[in-house]
C-alpha cells in the first residue's frame, strides 16, 4: 500500500521569537516492510542552519536553527512510503510470555537490543495499578502473542478515545483512573505494563489512515500523528506492532516515523525558543493512498 503523508506543524507566537532551535522526528524511517519513496522536511521562515542525521535508535532526525526574529514557525513534512507489514505469526505458535521475558533479560544473541526496552522510561514508568489491571491477560504459560492480543483488545474495550482530556505529560496513573485519553496515553500504558511483566516494549510514532477505504472500519486517530506499541515476541519472531487505540495488529493502515522508549525519544517536533510570549500550536496531517 502506498501512502502520501503531509504533516504541517505551525507555531504562532504572540511576540517575535529571536532564536529557535528545533529537533524533528518527521521523516519516516526505512524498514524492511516500509520503503520510503520520498521524505522531506521544509521550514518557514528559512532556517539559518540545518542538519540531517539519525539518532541512537536509527530514526531519521532533522535539526533546525533559526536566528532571525520570526512571529510564526512552520514545518512541513512530506513523504511517500510503500508499506507492507508482514502478517503476524500464529499466536499459539509463539513462546510462553515468561520465556520471552527470560530471553530478553538474558539479553544474549539476538535479544541484546531488545533489552533496551525493558526498563522504566520517563513517560512510561512502572505502575502497580496498571500491572494489576493487565494481570488477567498474563496467566502462567500463555503464549506471548495471545497475551498481547488479549491486552490490546481489552484496552480498546475498557478505555474511551477522547481528545483534549490529557496532555503530552499526563501520567499513566491518571489515564488509568479516567479510563480515557488518546493514542499516546494508551500506548504509554501498554508499554509500562509489558515492561512490568519483563517484556520489551517500545513506542512507535507514525500515522494511521482514519478515512476507511471501501469496506473497512473507520479508525480512531483524529487525522493527526498516531502512536502505538512495538512488542518483542522473542528471538524467533522479533518485533510486532500493536495498536491499542484501535485494538488491532498493525498491518496496512499505518506509516512508521520512528520509535524509542517513549514519546520523549521520538517527539515529532520539539524545540527551545527565546522570546515568543504566548503561542498557538496547530498541527495538520493528511494521509491518503497514492499511485505508485
Amino acid at each position: 500500500m502506498i501512502y502520501r503523508v503531509r504533516h504541517v506543524t505551525r507555531y504562532d507566537y504572540q511576540t517575535p521569537v529571536n532564536l529557535g532551535a528545533h529537533l524533528a522526528h518527521l521523516r519516516p524511517r526505512a524498514l524492511p516492510h516500509q520503503r520510503v519513496l520520498r521524505a522531506g522536511v521544509h521550514a518557514a521562515p528559512a532556517v539559518s542552519w540545518r542538519r540531517d542525521g539519525s539518532d541512537h535508535f536509527g530514526n531519521d532526525v532533522t535539526w533546525l536553527f533559526l536566528d532571525v526574529a520570526h512571529a510564526a514557525f512552520q514545518v512541513i513534512a512530506d513523504a511517500v512510503v510503500d508499506v507492507t507489514f508482514p502478517a503476524p505469526p500464529d499466536p499459539a505458535a509463539t513462546p510462553p510470555w515468561e520465556t520471552v521475558a527470560g530471553d530478553a533479560w538474558a539479553a544474549g544473541g539476538a535479544a541484546w537490543q531488545a533489552a533496551e526496552f525493558l526498563f522504566d522510561s520517563p513517560r512510561a514508568p512502572a505502575n502497580g495499578d496498571a500491572k494489576a489491571y493487565a494481570a488477567a491477560s498474563f496467566p502462567p504459560g500463555r503464549p506471548v502473542l495471545a497475551a498481547l492480543l488479549d491486552l490490546n483488545a481489552r484496552i480498546r474495550r475498557d478505555f474511551t478515545f477522547r481528545s483534549g482530556v490529557t496532555t503530552t505529560s499526563t501520567p499513566i496513573a491518571e489515564v488509568l483512573r479516567r479510563r480515557e485519553g488518546v493514542c499516546q496515553d494508551f500506548t504509554h500504558l501498554m508499554i509500562s505494563v509489558l515492561r512490568s511483566f519483563g517484556l520489551p516494549a517500545r513506542y512507535v510514532s507514525g500515522y494511521i489512515r482514519t478515512r476507511p477505504s471501501h469496506g473497512k472500519t473507520q479508525r480512531l486517530g483524529a487525522d493527526q500523528s498516531h502512536a502505538w506499541v512495538g512488542a518483542w515476541l522473542g528471538p524467533e519472531h522479533g518485533w510486532l506492532d500493536l495498536d491499542p487505540t484501535n485494538g488491532i495488529v498493525v498491518q496496512d493502515e499505518h506509516v512508521v516515523l520512528g520509535w524509542g522508549r517513549d514519546f520523549g525519544d521520538v517527539t515529532p517536533l520539539r524545540g527551545v525558543i527565546l522570546g515568543g510570549g504566548e503561542q498557538v500550536l496547530s498541527v495538520e496531517v493528511e494521509l491518503e493512498e497514492a499511485e505508485a
Binding site: 506543524t9 507555531y11 529571536n18 532564536l19 532551535a21 528545533h22 529537533l23 539559518s48 542552519w49 542538519r51 542525521g53 539519525s54 539518532d55 541512537h56 535508535f57 536509527g58 535539526w63 536553527f65 536566528d67 539479553a107 544474549g108 541484546w112 537490543q113 533489552a115 533496551e116 525493558l118 526498563f119 522504566d120 481528545s163 483534549g164 482530556v165 490529557t166 496532555t167 503530552t168 505529560s169 488518546v182 493514542c183 499516546q184 510514532s205 483524529a222 487525522d223 493527526q224 500523528s225 498516531h226 520523549g264 525519544d265 517527539t267 515529532p268 517536533l269 520539539r270 524545540g271 527551545v272 525558543i273 527565546l274 522570546g275 515568543g276 503561542q279 500550536l281 498541527v283 496531517v285
Partner: protein, 831 residues
C-alpha cells in the same frame, strides 16, 4: 586493623615520613595549632566561604599535615590509573559506538540501558566508535590493611577538587614554609600546563585564532561553584553560565561586550544530562543545540555521556573487560564489587551480608550503606528494595581505609583517609598529577563526602631523583603554544561590575547621609533652623530608602533618632545594602585579585561587626556607635575604590565598576541638591536658600573646598558652581557626567559611540543651570527654578543607565521548551 600511613606497626616510621615528622616535631609547642588557625584565616580571606557572617560554612577545610607518598608508590599508582583511564575510555567508546560489549554479552544490558547516565543523543547512530570521550579522569583511592591501593570511585566529571589541591599546596607553602625546606617534592604546577596544552590541542581547527575555551558552571548556587571559579582561573578560560552562550550556524558563541565570540572548547562543570535542553533534560542549565554543535565544531570536555563510566556496578566487570579490551590484567583494582543483577553475586553477598556495603548500581554520588549498621526496619526495607529490582544495586566489600595523622587541637591523631588523584590526557597518553587531594573521613563508611564539609589534606609525592623536580611535564609537552586569554568580558560579568559600583555608591551615600542626620538629632535642643534642616534631611533619607517619611512626620527628634538607629542597625537598610555589595563581590570572585577580595572580605566583616554594636545600646551611646559604624562604612568604600584604582587592570570590569558609581552618584547628587534647594520657607523668603546651600555643601562633602575659595560668604552662584558645574569636584554633578562620557567612550573603544554622545549631551545642562543663576538679578529667586531641572536631569541619567543595560548587558532571555510538556495546551491527537 587499618593500616597506618606513618608507622609500620613494628615501632618504626615509614621512610617517606621521616623528614616531614622531624620538621613538625621541631616547630615547637603550639606552633602547629597556631599555623592551622592561620590556614583557616587565609581560606576565609580567599573567599571560599560566603562573605557575610552567618552564611553556611565553607565546604572545604584543610588539615595542615600533608600525606607523603614515595615516588615509587606514585609511579605504580600512575601506571594503574593510566590503565584504568584507557579501559574506561575503551568501554565508553564501545557503548557510545558499536556496543559490541552488549552484543557479545561481556557487559549486562541493564548496566547501560537502565542507567540514566547513558545519554542516547551522545551515541553515534552509525555505530562508529567516538574517540573524544575522556580528557580528564580522577579516582578516589583508599589503601587497604594489606597495603594495596583500591579505587573507590572513578570520576569522569570536571576534575572536581583539582583547583583546591593546587590552591592548598600554595597556601601551605605560605603558612608552613618550613615543611617544604625539609625535602624535595614533585611540583604539581606543571600539571596545569599539560591541561592547558590539552585544551589548546583539541580545539577544533575551524574555531580559529579567536576560538576560546570556557568553563560551563551551573552558577553560584551550586556547591561546586567556587571550584569552578578557581579552575577557570588556573586554565585561563571564561567562566560562563548557560545564559551567556548561544548556538549559531552550528557553532557555540559567548555573548561578550564586543558581541558574539566563538568558543572552541567547553569544559563541563555540570552534569552531562543538563548541557542541552533541546536533546537532553528540557530544564537543563546548558544551551539549546550544544550537542548538534558538538558533533562538528565544539569539543565538550569531558563528553557529556562520559558519566556512564562512573556507575559503581561497572567495577564488578573491569577485570574481565581489561583482559578483553586491553589484553592486560587490571593493575589497580577497585574495592571488590558485585553487581546484584547476577544471581550468583546476589547469593554470595546475602550469604555474608556483613562483609558488604550496598550501593545504587548507577549512582556514584550516594554513599554505600552498611547493612550491619542499619536498624532492623531499615535493613528489611533495604533488602526488599534489592529483592524487587536487584539490578539497581551493587555491593562493595567492607574494607578499612588506612589512617594518617591529622591535627586535632594541638595533637596529631590518626584518622582514616582517602586520596583523590587527577589525570589528564597529553600528547602521548595519560599523565597523573604528582600529588593529590586527601580527604579525612568523619565516619566509618569510606566515601568522598558528597554534602557537608570536606576536611582535605595536601598529598605529596616525594622526589627521589632530581630530574623529577625539573618538571617532566614541561620537557614532554615541548613548546607551549601561545594562549589568548579571556580579554573580552562576558556581558553578565560586566553587568555584575556595574551593579557592584552602583550598590557600593548607594551604600556610601547612605552612610554619609546617616552620619549627617545623626549629628543633628543628637544635639540636645535643636533650634528652629536645625529643625528645618532635619526636614530636608528626612526628604533625602526617604529618597535614599532609609526612612519611611509618613512614619516620621510630625514626630520629635527622639523618634527620628530611633528610626535612624533602625536603619543603621543589624537588620536595617544599611545591612541590606551591605548584603547586596557582598553578594555582588561574591559573584565577581573569579574576576578580582586575591588581595582585593581579602580586603573586601575583611572590610565587610568589620562593618558588619560595627553595625552589630549599634543594637542593644541606650540612645546616646547607640547614636555614637552608629556614627562610628557609618565612618567604618565610608572607610570601607574608600578602601575599595582605592584598591580598584590601584589594582584592577583598566579593562572592562574596572570601567563598568566606575560607570556604576558615576551613574548612581549623579542621580543622588541631583536629587539631594534639589531637596536642599527646597529648604523650608524659601518660597516665602528666598534668602533662606543660604541654609539649603550650606546643607548641600555638607552633603556633597564640599564645605571645605567652598570655604577655601570664597571664605565665609555663601551665595547661590558660587556654591552651585562648585556643586553642579565644576568638573574638578569629584562629589559634584559635572564630574560624574564628564566621567560617564569618558567611560562610555572608552568602553565603546572606537565602536558605536552613541551612548558617549548621549552622555556628552547631558554635560551642558549643569553649566546652563549655573549660568541661569549667575545671570539672574536675584540669585536666590532664580534658584527656586532649579529643583525641577535637577530632577529632569536625574531622570535623563537613569534613562542613559537603561540604555547602557540594553546595549551591553541584555542577557539572552530565558529559553523555553516547546513541543513537549506543555501542560496548558490540550492535546489534539498526539502533536
Amino acid at each position: 586493623m587499618a593500616r597506618d600511613e606513618m608507622v609500620d606497626g613494628k615501632g618504626g616510621l615509614r621512610p617517606q615520613w621521616r623528614n616531614l615528622l622531624g620538621v613538625l616535631a621541631g616547630l615547637g609547642h603550639g606552633v602547629l595549632a597556631e599555623r592551622a588557625k592561620r590556614l583557616d584565616r587565609v581560606m576565609e580571606e580567599e573567599g571560599v566561604a560566603s562573605l557575610l557572617p552567618g552564611s553556611p560554612p565553607d565546604p572545604w577545610r584543610f588539615d595542615p599535615i600533608p600525606l607523603p607518598l614515595s615516588q615509587w608508590e606514585f609511579s605504580k599508582l600512575e601506571a594503574g590509573l593510566t590503565q584504568r583511564a584507557q579501559l574506561l575510555e575503551a568501554i565508553l567508546a564501545d557503548l557510545y559506538g558499536p556496543q559490541r560489549l552488549l552484543a557479545e554479552g561481556a557487559l549486562p544490558a541493564p548496566l547501560v540501558y537502565a542507567n540514566p547516565a547513558f545519554l542516547r543523543p551522545c551515541r553515534r547512530a552509525s555505530g562508529e566508535a567516538p574517540n573524544d570521550l575522556l580528557q580528564f579522569y580522577a579516582a578516589d583511592l583508599m589503601r587497604a590493611p594489606d597495603g594495596n591501593w583500591h579505587v573507590l570511585a572513578d570520576r569522569t566529571g570536571l576534575a572536581d577538587g583539582l583547583a583546591h589541591a593546587l590552591q592548598n599546596r600554595r597556601r601551605l607553602g605560605r603558612v608552613l614554609p618550613e615543611l617544604f625546606g625539609s625535602q624535595l617534592l614533585c611540583h604539581i604546577e606543571p600539571f596545569v600546563e599539560i591541561c592547558l596544552d590539552m585544551i589548546q590541542r583539541i580545539s577544533p581547527a575551524d574555531s580559529g585564532d579567536t576560538g576560546r575555551s570556557a568553563l560551563l558552571t551551573p552558577g553560584h548556587q551550586d556547591p561546586a561553584w567556587y571550584g569552578h571559579v578557581l579552575l577557570a582561573r588556573e586554565l585561563s578560560c571564561a567562566l560562563v553560565e548557560g545564559g551567556d552562550l548561544t548556538v549559531r550556524d552550528g557553532g557555540l558563541f559567548l555573548k561578550t561586550l564586543r558581541g558574539l565570540q566563538r568558543i572552541g572548547v567547553l569544559l563541563r562543570g555540570t552534569d552531562g544530562g543538563s548541557v542541552d535542553p533541546l536533546e537532553l533534560e528540557p530544564d537543563g542549565v546548558g544551551v539549546a543545540g550544544l550537542l548538534a554543535a558538538a558533533r562538528d565544531h565544539v569539543r565538550i570536555v569531558n563528553n557529556p555521556g562520559s558519566g556512564l563510566a562512573e556507575a559503581p556496578a561497572l567495577a564488578a566487570f573491569l577485570p574481565e573487560l581489561a583482559r578483553r579490551l586491553l589484553r592486560e590484567d587490571l593493575a589497580l583494582p577497585s574495592v571488590p564489587t558485585e553487581w546484584l543483577g547476577h544471581e550468583t553475586a546476589r547469593e554470595k553477598v546475602m550469604r555474608n551480608p556483613n562483609d558488604w556495603r550496598l550501593r545504587p548500581a548507577f549512582e556514584s554520588a550516594l554513599p554505600p550503606a552498611t547493612l550491619s549498621a542499619m536498624a532492623e526496619t531499615n535493613r528489611r526495607a533495604m533488602l526488599d528494595r534489592v529483592a524487587a529490582a536487584p539490578w539497581r544495586f551493587a555491593a562493595s566489600a567492607v574494607l578499612e581505609p588506612s589512617v594518617a595523622p591529622c591535627l586535632d587541637g594541638d595533637k596529631m591523631v590518626p584518622r582514616p583517609v582517602l586520596v583523590r588523584m587527577f589525570l589528564v590526557r597529553d600528547r602521548t597518553g595519560w599523565r597523573a598529577m604528582p600529588g593529590g587531594l586527601g580527604c579525612v573521613l568523619q565516619d566509618e563508611v569510606p566515601a568522598w563526602p558528597s554534602a557537608g564539609q570536606v576536611l582535605a589534606k595536601d598529598v605529596w609525592v616525594l622526589a627521589e631523583n632530581p630530574a623529577a623536580i625539573e618538571g617532566p611535564a614541561a620537557n614532554r609537552t615541548g613548546t607551549l603554544a601561545i594562549r589568548r586569554t579571556a580579554g573580552d568580558m562576558p556581558s553578565r560579568v560586566a553587568d555584575n561590575f556595574f551593579w557592584l559600583g552602583r550598590y557600593l555608591e548607594r551604600l556610601e551615600a547612605a552612610a554619609r547621609l546617616l552620619m549627617i542626620a545623626i549629628g543633628r538629632v543628637s544635639r540636645p535642643a535643636p533650634t528652629p533652623h536645625e529643625m528645618a534642616e532635619l526636614e530636608v534631611l528626612i526628604d533625602c533619607l526617604t529618597q535614599a530608602g532609609l526612612l519611611n517619611a509618613e512614619a516620621i512626620t510630625g514626630l520629635g527628634t527622639a523618634a527620628l533618632g530611633h528610626a535612624l538607629l533602625k536603619a543603621a542597625g543589624s537588620w536595617g537598610a544599611i545591612h541590606a545594602m551591605l548584603g547586596r555589595v557582598s553578594h555582588m563581590t561574591g559573584l565577581l570572585r573569579d574576576q578580582v585579585t586575591g588581595e582585593m577580595h581579602a580586603v573586601t572580605a575583611r572590610g565587610l566583616r568589620e562593618v558588619e561587626y560595627a553595625l552589630g554594636r549599634i543594637d542593644n545600646r541606650r540612645d546616646g551611646q547607640a547614636l555614637d556607635a552608629t556614627a562610628q559604624a557609618m565612618s567604618r562604612v565610608l572607610a570601607f568604600s574608600a578602601t575599595l575604590s582605592g584598591l580598584a584604582a590601584e589594582n584592577m587592570v583598566r579593562g572592562g570590569g574596572r570601567l563598568f565598576l566606575d560607570l556604576g558609581r558615576r551613574v548612581e552618584r549623579a542621580q543622588a547628587v541631583a536629587d539631594q541638591i534639589a531637596c536642599t534647594l527646597e529648604f523650608p520657607g524659601v518660597a516665602q523668603q528666598p534668602a533662606r536658600i543660604e541654609h539649603g546651600l550650606r546643607l548641600a555643601l555638607e552633603l556633597c562633602d564640599s564645605s571645605i573646598t567652598y570655604r577655601s575659595r570664597y571664605l565665609a560668604v555663601l551665595q547661590p552662584a558660587p556654591a552651585l558652581d562648585l556643586l553642579l558645574a565644576d568638573d574638578g569636584n569629584p562629589r559634584g554633578l559635572a564630574f560624574q557626567l564628564v566621567a560617564m562620557r569618558a567611560l562610555l567612550s572608552e568602553i565603546a573603544s572606537g565602536g558605536d559611540n552613541a551612548l558617549a554622545t548621549a552622555a556628552a549631551a547631558l554635560q551642558d545642562e549643569p553649566q546652563a543651570m549655573v549660568r541661569s543663576i549667575s545671570d539672574a538679578a536675584d540669585q536666590s529667586v532664580a534658584a527656586l527654578f532649579l529643583p525641577a531641572r535637577l530632577r529632569a536631569l536625574r531622570d535623563a541619567v537613569a534613562e542613559l543607565s537603561d540604555r547602557v543595560s540594553r546595549r551591553y548587558f541584555a542577557l539572552l532571555p530565558t529559553a523555553r521548551t516547546v513541543g513537549i510538556d506543555a501542560p496548558s495546551r490540550p492535546l489534539r491527537g498526539a502533536a
